[in-house]
């Protein structure tokens, strides 16, 4: 055995060198390639190391700090509240709550004057659109209530329908 090694030592040296070269090629060269890709990619890329990506997201300034990301309200969004501000508070009518008031808004009814001017046909038409509140207009006599409120006759309203 010893004789065999002594006679063929060059063979083992060559094998050892080949082993070292292959190991260098696998570990050193591939590692260099990996370093290059690491430098080239963004930490926010998909597949980036989670810790790096999370750190970058945490360190990023909040969206609120960037005015260009905050949406400006559209004119339409402002127009709706402005319209309801112009209208009367329909919940002052006896028998009309917030739900019924918003339902009337969707039907285009915003003022006491509108309700006061309803004819029998108008009442029938609106009544069919009130769903579960159907029949309330005549039962609670909205047009007469609205007439007092549209005229600003608080005393007359309270005499007829009770305290506001």
């Amino acid at each position: 055995m010893t004789e065999l090694v002594e006679q063929n030592w060059w063979l083992f040296v060559v094998a050892l060198l080949i082993g070292i070269i292959v190991a260098w090629w696998i570990f050193a060269i591939n590692d260099k390639t990996r370093v290059e890709t690491k430098l080239a990619r963004d930490v926010l890329d998909e597949g980036a190391a989670p810790a790096e990506r999370n750190k970058a997201l945490i360190d990023a300034p909040p969206a609120a700090a960037r005015p260009d990301l905050i949406p400006t309200p559209t004119p339409e969004a402002v127009a709706v509240p402005a319209r309801s501000m112009e209208g009367d508070d329909l919940t002052r009518l006896k028998g009309v709550g917030p739900k019924l008031s918003s339902l009337l808004h969707t039907l285009g009814v915003f003022t006491f004057a509108q309700i006061a001017s309803w004819s029998d046909e108008d009442i029938d038409r609106i009544d069919t659109q009130l769903g579960s509140f159907s029949g309330r207009i005549r039962r609670d006599n909205w047009p007469e209530q609205a007439r007092f409120l549209a005229d600003g006759d608080k005393q007359g309203f309270e005499d007829r329908f009770g305290k506001l």
Partner: protein
């Protein structure tokens, strides 16, 4: 065991030792990152 097979086994052993040395020098530092 024929002599060529002994030589082959010893050569593979030497190749393995070379790989181990290479890993110690270039491979291990990568794992420590």
């Amino acid at each position: 065991m024929p002599i060529w097979m002994e030589l082959l086994v010893l050569a593979l052993f030497a190749y393995g030792v070379g790989m181990a040395l290479g890993w110690l020098v270039w491979g291990r530092s990568d794992n420590e990152q």
